[in-house]
Amino acid sequence: MGEVILQMKDIDKSFPGVHALDHVSFSVEKGEVHALMGENGAGKSTLMKVLTGIYTKDSGTITYEGKEVEFHNAREAQAAGVVIVHQELNMVGHLNVAQNIFIGREFKKGIKIDDKKMIEESRKLFEKLNIDIDPTATMSDLTVGKQQMCEIAKAISHDAKVIIFDEPTAALTEAEIQDLFKIIRDLREQQLGIVYISHRMDEIKVITDRVTVMRDGCYVGTLITKDCTKDDIVNMMVGRVIYEEPKTKSMVSEDAPVVLKVEHLNAGKMVQDVSFELHKGEILGFSGLMGAGRTETARAIFGADPKESGDIYVNGEKVVINSPEDAVKAGIGYLSEDRKRFGIVVQKTIAENTTMANLSEFMKGIFINKKKEKKIAKELADSLATKMPSVDELVVNLSGGNQQKVVIAKWLCKNCDILIFDEPTRGIDVGAKNEIYKLMNKLASEGKSIIMISSEMTEILRMSDRIVVMCEGKKTGELRIEETTQEKIMNFATRDVG
């Protein structure tokens, strides 16, 4: 056991309506790789954001190198030697590798930037790290894996003592992952403290020394990696009491007609050969961890992103979907996980948003029949129990749950029979969540068919009649609700794919 370099104690953090971190403690020693695990929303990222000063903690202490510290922004943390390697890379594509590594703190020779020295330093850095990258290559020409190596090199060049890797392997190939592991091992040799956030169980076993598991904003426990099994970790991750009753029996008989059939869908790396069927009146849950390719699958089906191959059948008939327009014509509606960007037009009224997809039905000659528009919007809003002063209210003034209802109303207005809910309750408080659930059940019982993408295990278990599990762009399992357990889903979702 090495010396403790970083100690977080009793960290507490609340956001309006959410207790994100509930007195969490976490420590990192010199020369160890410490995994931080947990489902989506367990609080891992929040904890790291508190550490690097992006969020301010409500209470608790952070001790770094024996002194209590509080960083106010990422730059302060960086200067002190605590560096985070982000999932989204922050690189200037048009500059070369060396220029990126030293951006903001260039070496100078008179007024001239000393590129030679920067390249030389980068080369030394890469040698030290055993990375094979040409410092003069243009950043945008590198693969994502190589770009990440540069990001790591940049972190090291800041004289880092603690490096946090946030899902570093999400976009890497197998060979690149091996390279990354080599670097991480070298860093461990050099007595750096490393925090490794990942969902991939096999990686955790290979690279880490200790595992800390978080769940629902709480600290669950810490294990020595080599002494525990994968099942031990999974149990710690899911071992929660489920307050809401999970569904025990599918509401839909197995021979219900198939309304949507997707065959061998391919769209880039995140959607590989995905096939499934959706029955009438069914809620089909799509489970998986972050970056499993569920949203990408939905967007490809809906025509929002181009696909490479695959057939889609609606009610037994093959349909060609090249744009959202085609999908909507085929009766498919998509509720995005990011409502503000993809769902609603915030500066327009509820009525205008409601009729967005189906304006043709509200035309009187060339004019929009605003009376009818408002009437139908009001009816839909009432049936969904949307809380609002009137349908003339701008959507920007509504709460998250009510905005979601406006998006649902949009697709009900279009009379879509197939609805894809992508994270339907993200950012919605508990009360409104239950309402959305009730609504989805009601829609299903009325004969609508629903695909529900969700990262919340409770949500999946409570709502789905059947569950498709994805992992790294591939469908890894399909379960009927009767045979489903959290452990089974988690096993599929963390399956060691090739």
Partner: protein, 324 residues
């Protein structure tokens, strides 16, 4: 506090606080100018200001549609001149009948609008590049077509019956036409599918696309409508000023955009007010008349308009920052 109360008043809300203030500014300007300049309140000055307001108004209405989608078109001034020159030259040198000439003017405008709209909506060329290019193409085409000669349109008595669209005797018919077109634009923007989609895509393009709407089509249509109105503007320009010279027209871009942004149309797209544009145009027209009446040259107008646009757009930027 009181200001907030006034803003919350239902009648004020309906008319728009911004528009009420602008109307106040317009009246105030008129009163002040009438005090400063002899005979400013008289018919000749008013008629002259109206003549200016007509063509500028059509340009401004047109560009309102484009800005509503979040784009920009500053080729409108030179395109207007191009319309007037091609149709005028056809009339005077090729013996094309008057009615057909007017149609040619509108068709030329629509062609430019379609050209700009296609490049912006379907090819994703940045709007400022498209504007810059078609501004020069318009100037070039007009000069080539007219062999770099200016064109004078006939007087009313000599077959120039189109002037009756501008004024009959002393009756300013133009204002009726202008208001009719403005009302039509307002209806188009607020009560039809086209307008609804243009405003929505200006506000959140991706959300509209994911609602299954063909956003490219509607975006292009905004530019085509703009072109159509530019063609009409050309007719009113020659109706008021008779002679057009190739190679000019730039200064009207800024004045048209000024009328538009002053009236509350947001440069970021999604928010547009035809009523505001109309009042904005009258302010610019009155300003131009006032500046000339006070003995200044047209150049001061350029500077003042520039400053007005900067202030109006900055106010919009600040308002958006506060909202977020």
């Amino acid at each position: 506090m009181i200001l907030k109360k006034i803003k919350e008043n239902p009648i004020v809300k309906k008319l728009g606080f911004n528009r009420i203030v602008l109307t106040g500014v317009l009246i105030l300007m008129y009163v002040i100018l009438s005090c400063l300049v002899n005979n400013f309140a008289g018919m000749p000055r008013v008629m002259s200001a109206l003549n200016y307001a007509y063509f500028l108004g059509f340009l401004s209405l047109g560009v309102t549609f484009v800005i509503a989608t979040g784009g920009i078109d500053f080729s409108i001034g030179p395109v207007m001149f191009c319309c007037a020159l091609i149709s005028g030259y056809s009339l005077t040198s090729h013996g094309v009948p008057m009615g057909l000439s007017l149609i040619i003017s509108i068709v030329v405008g629509v062609i430019f609008g379609a050209f700009n709209g296609y490049l912006v909506a379907y090819q994703k060329v940045p709007p400022f590049i498209v504007s810059m290019a078609s501004m020069n193409i318009a100037k070039g085409v007009a000069s080539v077509f007219t062999k770099t000669q200016s064109v004078s349109w006939p007087q009313a008595a000599k077959g120039g019956w189109f002037r009756y669209f501008v004024k009959v005797g002393k009756v300013p018919v133009g204002i009726i036409v202008f208001f009719a077109v403005a009302i039509a634009c307002s209806i188009l923007l607020n009560h039809t599918k086209a307008g609804r989609y243009m405003l929505s895509l200006g506000s959140n393009r991706e959300a509209v696309r994911l609602s299954g709407v063909d956003v490219k089509k509607w975006e292009m249509l905004a530019y085509v409508i703009c072109g159509l109105l530019v063609g009409i503007a050309a007719i009113y320009f020659v109706g008021a000023y008779t002679t057009v010279q190739p190679g000019y027209g730039d200064q009207y871009n800024n004045e048209a955009i000024a009328g538009c942004v002053m009236g509350g149309t947001s440069m970021a797209g999604g928010l547009a007010s035809i009523g505001g544009t109309v009042i904005g145009v009258f302010i610019i027209a009155l300003l131009q008349e006032g500046i000339l009446a006070l003995g200044f040259t047209k150049d001061y107008q350029l500077i003042i308009t520039g400053i007005i646009v900067i202030c109006a757009v900055y106010a919009d930027v600040m308002a958006r920052r506060r909202r977020n």
